[in-house]
Symmetry: C2
DNA sequence: CAATTAATAGATCATCCGATCAATAGGGTT
DNA sequence: AACCCTATTGATCGGATGATCTATTAATTG
C-alpha cells in the first residue's frame, strides 16, 4: 500500500523551548494535528503526530483525553465558523446583479474549499461516515443553494425553470477543481477564478440570464 | 472516531462447502475484499475481512503473500478493463449527433462511477496518494475529454471557444453526484440521468449547440 | 475403502498502537 | 540562589495487527 509516509519531525518553529503555556501548547498541537491528519488521514498514529510536533506522544494525552478528542479539535478548527453567516443575505441582495453575487460568493467560498487541509479532512471524514459531512451539506443546501435557486427562478424567464439538481451541478463542477487538486493531486489551473467565472456564465446563460 | 464499523460475517453465499477450488476461493476473497475495503478503507484489518468472508485470517495469506497484494487485486478487479476501449471512437463518430454521443457516453460512464465500490475505493486510493488515480485522470483527460473538446470546437461557432477546463467542469459536475451519494452519503436523485441530460444540454447550449 | 494431497483452523510471534503513570526538569517567584 | 509548581518525559501496559507455522480435516484418486 502506498500510503503517504508521514513526514518526520518537521519542526515548524524552533523546538528549543520546552514547557510552553498550556494554551499555546494546545493550540500548537491542534494546528499540527490539522495538517498531519490532512496528510495521512484520520487513522494517523499519535506517535507520528507527536514526532512531527517535536514532543513526546504521552504529552498529547495531557491535553486531550484520547485520540478522538484530538480529531474533534481538528474538526472544530477546520470547520467551525468558517461558513460566513453573511452569505445567505448577500446572495439574495437583489440590489446587486445576480451574476456579481454568484461570482463574489464563489470567489470567497473557493478560498475555503481549495484549501488543502479543508478539502482533505472533509473527504477523510466523509469516507469515515462522519455525521459532520451530512450536516454540512444539508446546511449548504438549505442556506446557500436553495436561496440561490429562488434567486435564479425569480429572474429567469418562465419557460425555463431551474431545479435543485441544476444548482448542485453548478456547485459540484466548481468543487471538483479542488478535488482534482488536493485529493487526486493532478495539475489544475493555478487560479481557478477563470474556470469558475466561465462555469457561472454558462449556467446563467442557459437559464436566459446574462 | 466514527469509523464505519465493519459488518461482521455477512456471508454473501452459503458457506457450507469448505475446500473450494483455489480459483474460486481466490475470486471469492477478492470480491469480498472489494466491498470490505470500499466500506472501511484501505486500512481495514485482515481479521475483519476474514470474518466477513467466513474464513480464518491465516487463509488469506495462503492466497496472497501480504495485505498489499490483496489490495493490488482489489485495484485490478475494480479498475482494469473497466474503461471501454470503444468510447474514444464513439465519442468522435460524427455520423451521430454530438448531443447523443455525449448522452450515451455519460449514461454508460455514470454506471461505472456511481457504483459504490468504484467511487469509494477510488477516493480512498486517491487520498492515500496512489499513482493509480493520477494515471487514471490523465488517461481520462487525453483519451476522453480532449477528443471531446475537439468535437465541440469543430461544431461550435467561431466566436465561442471551449477550453479544457470547461470540459472538466462538465465532467466534475456529473461525477459530483456520485461523490455526494457514496462519499458524503447524502440523498441524491435515484436516477441521475435527468440531471446529467440537463447538464449536458446546458453545456452544449452555452457553446451555441443544440 | 484406504491413501494421498491440499485446504483450513488455531495457536503463536514480533511489532505497533492508544493510553497510563511515576519521575524529571523548566522557569517563574520569592 | 533556593524553592515550588507543573509541563514534559520515558518507561510501560494491554490489546490489536500482519504474518508464520503446525496439526487437522475434507475431498480426490486408485
Amino acid at each position: 500500500m502506498d500510503q503517504i509516509t508521514p513526514t518526520l519531525a518537521v519542526a515548524t518553529e524552533p523546538v528549543e523551548r520546552r514547557r510552553l503555556p498550556p494554551e499555546e501548547r494546545r493550540r500548537q498541537i491542534v494546528e499540527g494535528a490539522v495538517t498531519f491528519f490532512a496528510d495521512v488521514g484520520l487513522d494517523g498514529k499519535t506517535r507520528d503526530l507527536a514526532k512531527r510536533l517535536g514532543i513526546t506522544q504521552s504529552l498529547l494525552f495531557n491535553y486531550f483525553a484520547n485520540k478522538a478528542e484530538i480529531i474533534e479539535a481538528v474538526y472544530a478548527h477546520v470547520y467551525l465558523d468558517r461558513l460566513s453567516e453573511d452569505w445567505p443575505r448577500r446572495l439574495t441582495d437583489r440590489s446587486v446583479p445576480l451574476r456579481e453575487r454568484l461570482l463574489t460568493f464563489y470567489s470567497e467560498y473557493s478560498e475555503l474549499i481549495f484549501e488543502y487541509e479543508w478539502m482533505r479532512i472533509f473527504m477523510f471524514s466523509g469516507l469515515a461516515g462522519a455525521e459532520l459531512n451530512r450536516r454540512y451539506l444539508k446546511h449548504m443546501g438549505t442556506v446557500i443553494l436553495l436561496p440561490l435557486l429562488e434567486e435564479i427562478r425569480a429572474e429567469a424567464p418562465q419557460e425555463v425553470s431551474p431545479e435543485m439538481e441544476d444548482i448542485w451541478n453548478l456547485h459540484g463542477g466548481i468543487v471538483y477543481i479542488g478535488i482534482r487538486r488536493h485529493i487526486y493531486q493532478v495539475p489544475t489551473p493555478e487560479d481557478p477564478s477563470r474556470a469558475i467565472e466561465r462555469a457561472v456564465d454558462r449556467f446563467l446563460q442557459s437559464f436566459g440570464l446574462v
